[in-house]
């Protein structure tokens, strides 16, 4: 058996109360949402917080709301809901797609989107989507709330720009417009495993079929999720076709700082960043064609 070290358990009934507890215990505390990463790490005693703040007793944190041009998702919204939420499937299907790739049915029925983002595992599946789509996190503390953009949120491996007493209460994703196509592609040793490489791409097309905006976010190839800006530059201003896709894909390796481990060698991961980017962009290309966005 492996059992966690002892801790004190708190189950606040409101976000305010949670923030107070976080403020009070500051460094020695962890927020428990889905717990599907936290609990195993506590069992392995990699993490041994003295205080655990369980936000599961704040049911009002579980929601998917459509706003003007966006989607707001609460901190307790489970991955299983994201996977099948009509609102998300309609407004931001790529998010549901990434959700379906995570672990398994049971893990997804506890795990939360916000929890996964806050855990900042460099090979987790939501982070590339959040970065490519410019998601915004709502961080709350006793001092009030602030919005953190995805590009500023992921600080490193298992590390974010959150202050120790801050709690993410909500994440906002944009609604993908008619001119926009996004895709998610993941390579893993088997279904549900952490990614060897994962890629989220988002492209916007002008009325004349030219790519006017491109975002490619790569996971698992560095200490944190990265934008492949050189590749994006190649796409912008061009009419998308197989050749452009290939050119762009071949220019993602600059952001790769992969290390060799049991999921593959450094060289393999670096090349897979290209391969998976190509797959992701090819999916965008195909969908753009079928939606007649390329003219």
């Amino acid at each position: 058996m492996l059992f966690p070290a002892r801790f004190e358990y708190h189950a606040p009934a409101s976000v305010k109360e949670a923030a107070h507890l976080l403020h009070e215990y500051n460094e020695d505390v962890r927020v428990l949402a889905g717990g599907q990463s936290l609990i195993p790490m506590m069992k392995l005693r990699v993490l041994r917080p003295k205080h655990v703040i369980d936000i599961n007793q704040i049911p009002e944190l579980s929601y998917v709301k459509k706003t003007n041009g966006g989607l707001k998702i609460g901190a307790l919204t489970r991955e299983s809901l994201i996977e099948r939420s009509e609102t998300i499937l309609d407004a931001c299907p790529v998010l549901a797609e990434a959700s379906g790739e995570i672990a398994d049915m049971q893990i997804r029925s506890r795990g939360t989107l916000v929890g996964s983002l806050c855990n900042a595992d460099p090979s987790a599946d939501y982070a590339p989507v959040a970065l490519a789509l410019d998601a915004k996190m709502e961080a709350f503390s006793t001092k009030g709330s602030r919005t953190i953009e995805a590009k500023d949120f992921f600080a490193g491996s298992f590390s974010t720009s959150l202050e120790p007493d801050e709690l993410v209460t909500e994440v906002e994703f944009p609604e993908l417009g008619k001119d926009t196509v996004a895709s998610f592609a993941k390579l893993s040793r088997s279904f549900g495993d952490f990614a060897i490489v994962n890629v989220a791409s988002l492209l916007r097309f002008s009325d004349d079929g030219i790519c006017k905006d491109a975002r490619i976010a790569l996971g698992a190839v560095a200490s944190t999720v990265r934008r492949a800006r050189e590749a994006e530059k190649i796409l912008v201003g061009k009419k998308l076709d197989e050749r452009v896709v290939r050119d762009a894909s071949e220019n993602v390796t600059g952001v790769c700082e992969a290390t060799s481990d049991i999921r593959g060698s450094k060289e393999y991961k670096t090349e897979m960043a290209m391969v998976m980017t190509k797959i992701s962009l090819t999916r965008v290309l195909e969908e753009a064609r079928s939606r007649r966005l390329l003219k």
Binding site: M1, L2, F3, P4, A5, R6, F7, E8, Y9, A11, L32, G35, Q36, I39, P40, M42, K43, L44, V52, D54, N56, S80, A103, D104, M105, Q106, I107, S109, R110, F191, G192
Partner: protein, 154 residues
């Protein structure tokens, strides 16, 4: 804390670190829920909490305070077998049986959400449960057969 396990209230004073799996085994005395790993990968400890399938080693028992928990022991009523249990037996969907309770609970959750899963939907839906004896193929058959039994096709 109090949990309703298979309809019966179980009350116990627990350390916060006690995992739900051990609450079920040690406090409720129901040893059909097995613990096979530490990382939430094997699925042997799968139970249904308030209608949702969870791995009970991935939840602190205090989190289930006030919840309804369904375990393998609660599936068959009065000594009869649930159609999924019957199907597992008939389809030879087990050998050593250690993964079986978790497997059956996962199948229960899957069939609740999707009463007529395709082979691929079964494979994807149950990917969180590992089996080392059967090679899964008979389990797929069992879930298909259970689906038919529940719908009264067979």
């Amino acid at each position: 804390m109090k949990v309703r396990v298979n309809g019966e209230e179980v009350e116990a004073e627990v350390e916060p670190r006690l995992l739900l799996a051990h609450f079920i085994r040690e406090k409720a005395g129901l040893t059909g829920t097995h613990v096979g790993c530490v990382s939430g990968k094997c699925g042997c400890c799968t139970v249904i909490v308030d209608g949702e399938p969870v791995k009970s080693c991935m939840m602190f028992s205090v989190q289930a305070n006030g919840s309804d928990v369904l375990t393998i022991e609660g599936l068959g009523k009065d000594g009869t077998m649930h159609p999924i249990q019957e199907a597992f037996w008939e389809s030879d969907a087990l050998e050593c049986g250690f993964c079986t309770p978790g497997m059956i609970m996962a199948a229960y959750a899957l069939l609740n959400k999707n009463p007529t899963p395709t082979e691929q939907e079964i494979r994807r839906g149950m990917v969180g449960n590992l089996c080392r004896c059967t090679g899964y193929l008979n389990i797929i058959k069992a879930v298909q057969s259970a689906s038919e039994k529940i719908r009264g096709v067979k």
